[in-house]
Point group: C2
Chain length 343, copies 2
DNA sequence: GTGAAAGCGCTAACAG
DNA sequence: CTGTTAGCGCTTTCAC
């Protein structure tokens, strides 16, 4: 492969060409208010002719602002996060920001490395979804105390000093359960997720509240403690069908669990939705393509990303890092009724 | 929200503390060979105590290396690209690189903006998957001529001066078709994608080659010109079923097309795989969850990302930007047989 | 509206 | 093995 080419042109080069100083060129390029239209245009013309591209590294060093925000996600392979990143990057584009990404692989150690990398890169802010096995978030708080604003999305935590954007999981659980009740199902079960994660606990809470609102009894044996997997959906069905009085509907904590539920029900020749109703959570891509199509709760992932970006922009512009206004964005969950629950 | 905190500590601060110069501290932190173990440790200790984090912005400006690579993808929402990014970021992590992301939205103008942003950020290299409607890649070549190495992945182009990593689409098309032949299907049709995109043209070429190898005639009316969508799969089936002599199997250019094919076949009460075989391409997540499960060709997305990163690292280290070695990585497509094609 | 001067924090070349 | 010196390319006072 051949050698790379020569040095980039700088504002000095432009300055020389026009017999002005670099400061003037800088002002012209940055649309400084007190610069004459004539020089602005002359500079633009020469910059274009010399094929100039601003060196953001130098400008960042001088100004103390990088126009970069860092995003920490568990994995780019997971649909949900890809979709949120899409929202973040779209907003960032509009506002002239660049987006660095870092994967935690659900591991606190990687999370720390990511934060360290972002601090070194002097990002203007950090957006993060906490790794599943992270309980202590002091590494985030340390970064915050170093002056970097942080906003959590989806996976958050009880610390109120950090703004966050989440979907209303409680309401989502409520809506899902209510929908099954309205469709005439009488004994509604729930396959839950790990309860130390707030999002899953909230969905269970919503399930309970809906039962109560419609004067249906809450029965402990109708909640199966799953772990967010196809397998746990299958096991839940096996368990429920072995009960003396089995349920006739299941609200699963998320779509893969619901998928397992559907597979196992089919295995047992139970007709969905006639004999048994199923609702999931997340509105995964496959939901509308399986048979029967799966009713689910949409989490507005793209909006989540956009709102998270807006929150961090706000903090950056106001030069604040602690959430003393107690800012947060709670998105509405959207029920997507499909065949699996409508009779 | 409360105010942000004070100034970051610098190598000057550490130097003062130890009565050495900044240069020594810099060397110690960078594990320069000719530095005494004693000072190295002393520096490490003070750096730790003062809570020092290296300012990569400054070091990039001085050294001319940012340790950042830029990645241009059509959209982070698309599974395939999320998965490739996962591979890229995983390698980058290991090698101490950061990853900047930019979405082209399949639009050449955004693509240009992305390249411009990356040039400004002085990234050490660019990995890109070309937008669908981009035919002229001169914006990439311009960046290359400015000294930034570029590697394409998946969506590539005929310009041989840029290294790339792709899956062997020709072979994938061949394998898919051969599989249907081996399963005893006699008249095998193809729903194609936009032919100006090499990946789709290659799959068609593989289809033709397999027919030839097994001495089956190629019939023009058995190729439906689709546009990579569920809809085009449905239309293809309508077209094929209207033929005097309809086919008994379809190799679809990718999984969403195949999904449309399956939906329309079911609509017409045609039994899959007994009466009709279907094979897709991409091995999307939903493939194994639909009924019948869809046979597909896996593209090794994560490996693709890793290999792309390795190629760019190689160019960066050798300080070359043109692909005079004619480097490329061609990944093996992996057939994933499932219910939709096995009788 | 523009110039002069300084410096952001780091690394690299040259000494010794 | 360490110090000295210089400067990467830009922005930002402070002048005038």
């Amino acid at each position: 492969m051949s050698k790379s080419t020569s040095r980039n042109t700088t504002i000095q080069d432009i300055a020389k060409e026009l017999n002005v100083t670099a400061a003037t060129v800088s002002r012209a390029l940055n649309n400084h208010p007190r610069i004459s239209e004539a020089t602005r245009q002359a500079v633009a013309e020469v910059a274009d002719r010399l094929n100039y591209t601003r060196n953001r590294v130098a400008s960042s060093l001088r100004s103390g602002k990088t126009n970069v925000i860092g995003v920490i996600i568990p994995s780019a392979k997971i649909n949900f996060f890809g979709s949120v990143v899409h929202g973040i990057e779209t907003m960032a584009n509009e506002r002239g920001y660049n987006v660095l990404i870092y994967q935690s692989n659900e591991d606190t150690e990687y999370e720390k490395k990511g934060i360290q990398a972002f601090l070194s890169a002097r990002v203007d802010g950090i957006l993060a979804s906490i790794a599943k096995d992270t309980r202590d978030i002091s590494h985030y708080l340390d970064a915050r105390d170093k002056g970097v604003p942080i906003v959590f999305f989806d996976r958050t935590n009880d610390d109120t000093s950090i703004p966050y954007v989440v979907v209303d999981d409680y309401k989502g659980g409520y809506l899902a359960t209510e929908h099954l009740i309205n469709q005439g199902y009488k004994r509604i079960a729930h396959v839950s997720g790990q309860q130390h994660l707030k999002i899953f606990a909230e969905r269970l809470r919503g399930y309970k509240a809906a039962l109560k609102a419609y004067k249906l009894p809450f029965e402990k044996e109708l909640v199966f403690a799953g772990n967010v997997s196809i397998e746990s959906g299958k096991e839940a069905v096996k368990h429920f069908l072995s009960l003396p009085e089995p349920p006739d509907a299941i609200f699963a904590v998320e779509d893969f669990t619901a998928l397992g539920v559907i597979k196992e029900l089919k295995e047992n020749k139970i007709r969905i939705p006639e004999q048994f109703g199923v609702v999931g959570f997340a509105n995964e891509e496959f939901d509308e393509h399986i048979t029967p199509a799966l009713t689910s709760v949409d989490q507005q992932t793209v909006t989540m990303g956009k709102e998270a970006f807006n929150l961090i922009m706000d903090m950056i512009n106001k030069k604040v890092v602690r959430n003393v206004d107690n800012k947060k964005v709670i998105l509405e969950p959207l029920l997507q009724p499909r065949a699996s629950s409508q009779r």
